[in-house]
Point group: C2
Chain length 194, copies 2
Amino acid sequence: MKVSKAQVQENRARIVAMAAMLFRERGYDGVGVAELMAAAGLTHGGFYKHFKSKADLMAEAAAAGLEQSAVNTADLDVIAFVNQYLSRQHRDAPGEGCTMAALSGDAARQPDSIKAVFAEGIERQLAVLGANQAVDADANKQARALIIETMAQAVGAIVLSRACPDDSPLADEILAVCRARILGQYEREPEVKP
Amino acid sequence: MKVSKAQVQENRARIVAMAAMLFRERGYDGVGVAELMAAAGLTHGGFYKHFKSKADLMAEAAAAGLEQSAVNTADLDVIAFVNQYLSRQHRDAPGEGCTMAALSGDAARQPDSIKAVFAEGIERQLAVLGANQAVDADANKQARALIIETMAQAVGAIVLSRACPDDSPLADEILAVCRARILGQYEREPEVKP
DNA sequence: ATTATCTATAGATCTATAGATAATGC
DNA sequence: ATTATCTATAGATCTATAGATAATGC
């Protein structure tokens, strides 16, 4: 029943990847260890050779999800990012979407060890979107403020839109309004290029 | 052991009020019926004479929390609202704060019956903040868009700030930046008065 | 020999129900 | 007579551990 070291590593990665998806879809309390391990093709007893506890996995899955978002958006400019982020596709597929939007509410009730992972993930995403890339300190401060505002509005729009019933006109209106207004801001205040 | 009709009504209201607070603090899955009833000074068996199920209470507690926010902010203009909403006090007291910010993430995973309560609560809050109060249809549309953008950014800022560790500089920065930028927008685009 | 995985289970917790009780309200 | 509340419990589920197993890797 033992498996190769490569297989062990692959199994562990699959558990983390499944957790990152299932937690985003159903929340930290919405997915049990047994179900998670079954989704990864294993039995639940083996979980504790990979992780000390479910809380440990939560931190690792959050880091994986946040890292994935940063990598996926690394080659987008802010306008492309906003168009993708504030889309119905993103709203309706939380399992593959932004970890901040899907799990920040849950993270707020977790210990600082998990919140620290989120803070790092937020900071990373701000960097990817072009904060701190301006020529001088003052321009940097302004660029960073603009990116923070954009992320907050984008996250808020997705969170509120997802809280509405599936066919609610308000759900779509929130996305459309925020997308238009953010994009309008980047026309007036063009993105800072390095 | 039976109690008067007035007492029954009072007990029920206390259960709903405690639920509205505890759910905001710890999430729908974070509070059990037994603990909730104990917090209301009752034993858990009696719960089911008041509510058909925990899910029924969740809908009613959400409605109560959303209603409370609307009433509390009814006499504030948008600027006073934003100053209060994007404060450390609000961020650090979710149990008495905005239900949208505290529970939208949980609501997204609940059935449409609960999401419908949230959609109504959002719509109500938009109305309180002055959407639909302009003189003509076009001005109304613009005013509504501005309020939606403001709510999304405010909710997103609180949600992200709460996901950061308690002493995180980023948590405070998100609040300060979004507060300043929203207020700046209302200077440039003054609030629509009826 | 080591150890990742499996089966089985302990112990806690959670929602919901059953039946008894006693004060209200017709 | 009705019924809100209480005590007790059923049945499900969840995290974590114990012990057996069998293939890897020294």
